[in-house]
Amino acid sequence: MSDAPLYRRLGLTDDEYERVVGILGRPPNEAELAMYSVMWSEHCSYKSSRAHLGRFRHDQEWVVLGPGENAGVVDLGDGWLAALRIESHNHPSYVEPYQGAATGVGGILRDIFTMGARPIALWDTLRFGPLDQPQNRYLMQGVVGGIAGYGNAVGVPTLGGEVEFADRFSKNPLVNVMALGLMRKDQLVMKAAAGAGNVAILIGASTGRDGIGGASILASASFAEGDEEKRPSVQVGDPFEEKKLIEACLDLYDRSLVAAIQDLGAAGISCATSESAAAGGMGMDVDLDAVHLREPGMTAAEILMSESQERMLAIVTPEKAEEVLRITKKWEVEASIIGKVTASPDLRVFQSGQLVADLPAASLSDDAPIYRRPAAMPSYQEALWADLPDLPESVDIGDALRHLLDDPALGDRSWIHEQYDHMLFLNTVVGPGNDGSLLRIKGTEKGLAVSTDGDSLRCYLDPERGAERLVFEAALNVAVTGARPYAVVDNLNFGNPEQPAVMWQFTGVVEGLASACEALNVPVVGGNVSFYNATDGVDIYPAPVVGMLGFCDPMPQRPPRLDRAAVGMEIWLVGPEAGTDFAASAYSRIVLDHIGGRPEAADAVSARSVTEHAARLAYSAPVLHDISQGGLAVAIAEICVKSDVGAMIDVEDWRLLLDESPHRVIAVVPEDFDLAVEDAPVRRIGTIGGGSIDFGALGSIDVTEAHHIWYHALRRRLSLLA
C-alpha cells in the first residue's frame, strides 16, 4: 500500500489523476492533490449518484431553495421560512461511535445556521446489527450517547427518529441526522462569495490535525480488516464551541454583517473556500499563515484538508470586517481574516509567502467526474421474490404480539429519546413516541410536523416499491398530526456503487422516491448519498431514509397522540382493503423468521385520499395512528400500552391483523364521532375497554403483560454489559 503513488493513497483513481493533470496543465503538488482528493471524493462530489439525482422535482412554488445550497428552504407564509437537511455520519460512527455520531449532529446543525436559520430540532435515524452481539450494543450505546452528549449541550432538541436492526448493519451501522431550522425571510444567507475585495473570515474553532482525509479515506471507501488505523480520521466534537458559534453567527446575520457564509465540513478549508468562490463565479486568495491553528508545524495540505469541527467561513465587505471581529469576540469565538475574494477564477493558497496551491476554484466543485455506473438486477432477486413466507392457517394474535412487542425495533424506544432533550425552545407539541413530531411556531398559528422513515428490508426485497411506500408512510405520519406533506429530504445509504446490483438498488430507490413525491406533489429539497457502506465485501441492505416535513396553518390545538385512548371509545380503521402483504412484514421477519417475497406496490390514489383524510381528522380525533410494522395488531397494542387501556377487537381473519398493506390508519374516537368520508373507506373494528387486548377467537394478551414486554424489549437487551 505504501508503495502506491500518493494520489492512490488519497483515494484518487489513475483516470481521475490524469484529469487533474489536464486541468492544471501540470502535475499537482501535494497540497493541490490533497484538495482534489477530498473534493472529488464520492462523499463530496456525488460522482456516482449525481447523474440520477436530477430525477427529483423541486419546482413547487413554496420552494425557496432546492438541492445545491447547504439546506433546502421552503416558504411558510407571513415572512417565515423553514430550512431542512439530512446527513449521514455512518463510517465515522463505526470507527468511533460517540464522536462519530456527535460530530454528525454538529455538521448538520452548521448546514442549517449557515442559511441564516436558527436550528430548532433534530431527528436521528439509526441502524445497527442485532443487539445479541456485544459490538452492536457498544455501537448503539456510543451513538446514542454521542447524539445526546452533543445535541443536549449544543442546545438543540432532538425530537425522535427511528431505529432498525439487521445483520447487514453489524459491521456498518447507519447514523443519519435530520435538522430543521426556522428564520424570517430577510435572514436568508447564501454561500456564494460576491464582490472582489471582500474578505474571507474564518470563525470558530482552531484548525488541528483531526479528521484529515475523513471525506476521502473514511467516507468514500469500504471497510476491511485492520481499519482501526482509520480512527485518527474521525473528528472530535465540541458542542460548547458550536453553541457559541451558533449565537455569534445569528448575531452577525441580525446585524446584516455578512455577504455570504459557508460552513466547514468535509474537506474543511479546501471545500469552503472553493465552493464559496465558485458559487459566486469568483476566485480567492487564501493565506494559511492567518489561520488560527491548534498546533504548530502543520503543512499546507494538513491545514487545507483538516476537518476540525465548529468552523465557518464568512465573506464580508472590508468595511464591516472590524465589526464582525468585535461581535465574534463578544461571543468568545475566535476569528481570523484568512483571505480575499478576487475577480480571477483561481483559488490561490499561500503559506510563508509561497504560493502553495493555484487552481481554478470551480474545478474542485464542478469538474469532478460524473460516473454512470452500470446497474443490473442482482441474480438472487427473482428467487427472493419467489420465496414466499409459509403462512399458517390460524394464528394466536396474543402469542404473535408476545413476539412482536419484544422486538427492539417495535418495542418502546424511550430508552433512546429520554436521553435527548426534546423539549427545549417550548415548541414541542407532539414529541417522541408518536408517529410524527409536531412543533408550533410561537407567535403564529402555524405548525411544522416531521417524520423520519426507513425500511431497509422492504427496500431490499423491492427497492422501487419499498422507497415509494416509505414516502407515503412518512406522509401519513405527518398527516396524523394535522399537517400536509410539504417537503422531503432524503438520505440514500447504499453499499459499494461499483457493484451493478447496488446501482440497481440505487436507481430503483431514486425512481420510487421521486414518483411517490410527485404523486403527493411534495418537493425534494435536499438529500445526501452515502455509498460504500460495505464491510468485508458485504453490502448493507439498501437503506433510504425519508425526512418528511409537514405544514399546517392553523395547527390543531390538541393534536392526536397515542396515549389519549379512553374507555368507551370506538376503534376505526381508515383505508383500503388489506390482508395480503406479508413480504418484509414484522410477522414474517420476527415470528416466521423468514425474509423473502415481494412487497405490494403502493397505490398513489389511496395514499393521497387517506393522507388527506387523516390530516382533517387530526383536528378532532383523540388518537390517530399510522399502521406500519407489525400491522394492525401492533398498532392497536401500542395505543393500548401507551393509554393504559384494553380493547375488544372484532376482526375475523388473522391476516388482517398482521399484514402490512399500506395507506391505513387507526382512529380512536368517542362514540358519537362522525368519520364519514367520500373517498377513504372506513370500518369500525372494536371498542376501548377491559384489561386485555382481546381479539376474541384469535386470542388475547393482558395490557400489563403487553406493556411489560414492550417496555423492556430494547432496555433488557442493552442492559447486558457491552
Partner: protein, 224 residues
C-alpha cells in the same frame, strides 16, 4: 419590575424563561455573563443549559463569571435569586445554596416529565403554592442527583428548606428525593426540573406556572 435572566456561554434555556415570564406579565431582560451591574433588577434567574460547556464540573467555571458578584450582592440584599437546572448547579457551586449535584443514579441523561410534591412554601419559588400540591414538570439533566453533607441535609429538612421533592419514583437518586431547596432567608432557591417548560396547555402541562408566579410575586416586595 425587571428580572435579569443571565446568559453564560453555553446557556440554552434563556429564551424559554423569558417567554414564560412574559406570559406571566413580568419584565425579563437577558444579561450577558460579563455584565457586572444588576442594580436595577428586582430579581435574577440563572436558567438551564451548559454554562461554559459544563467543562471541569457543572457550574465550576460559571461561578467565576463576572456577573456572579452581582448575583451574590442581590442574594445578600434579600432580592429574589432563582436557579433552574444548570442555574441551580451554579448557585450550589457559588455557595449560595448548600450541596452539589452529581451524575444521575443510572448514569444516563433524563428528559421526561416527573411528579413533584411541594413540601414547603418558605421560599420565593413556592410561596404561592400549597404544601402537598403535586406538580407534573419536565426534568432535563444528567447531573441532577443532589448530595450534601449529612449535617446540611439535616438542616435543610429541619428548617423546611426542602421546597420540592420527587413524588413516587425518585428519577435520579437524589438524596431524600430532593428536587428543589432554598436558603435560610428563602430568597435564593434552586430546582432541577424546568417550570418554564410547563406553562401552557399546548405543551402538555401548566403546573410550572405556580412556581414562576411565586417568583414573580416575590419581586413586588423585594428590599431596595
Amino acid at each position: 419590575m425587571r428580572v435579569a435572566v443571565v446568559v453564560f456561554p453555553g446557556t440554552n434555556c434563556e429564551h424559554d424563561v423569558v417567554h414564560a415570564l412574559s406570559l406571566l406579565g413580568a419584565d425579563p431582560e437577558l444579561v450577558w455573563h460579563r455584565d457586572e451591574d444588576l442594580a436595577d433588577a428586582a430579581g435574577v434567574i440563572l436558567p438551564g443549559g451548559f454554562a461554559h460547556g459544563d467543562y471541569l464540573r457543572t457550574g465550576a467555571i460559571a461561578r467565576f463569571s463576572p456577573v456572579m458578584q452581582a448575583v451574590e450582592d442581590m442574594a445578600a440584599k434579600g432580592r429574589s435569586v432563582l436557579g433552574i437546572c444548570n442555574g441551580f448547579q451554579i448557585l450550589c457551586e457559588a455557595g449560595l445554596l448548600p450541596g452539589a449535584m452529581v451524575a444521575n443514579r443510572d448514569l444516563s441523561f433524563i428528559c421526561r416529565p416527573v411528579d413533584l410534591e411541594v413540601t414547603s412554601t418558605k421560599s420565593i419559588l413556592t410561596a404561592t403554592a400549597t404544601v402537598g400540591d403535586l406538580l407534573h414538570i419536565p426534568l432535563n439533566s444528567y447531573e441532577g442527583n443532589f448530595i450534601a453533607p449529612p449535617a446540611d441535609v439535616k438542616a435543610l429538612e429541619s428548617d423546611h428548606r426542602v421546597v420540592l421533592r420527587y413524588h413516587g419514583e425518585n428519577p435520579n437518586g437524589s438524596t431524600n428525593a430532593i428536587a428543589g431547596i432554598t436558603n435560610e432567608r428563602g430568597n435564593v432557591a434552586g430546582l432541577m426540573p424546568h417550570p418554564e417548560r410547563a406553562t401552557e396547555p399546548v405543551l402538555g402541562s401548566t403546573d410550572g406556572r405556580v412556581l414562576l408566579e411565586s417568583f414573580v410575586a416575590s419581586l413586588a416586595s423585594v428590599p431596595a
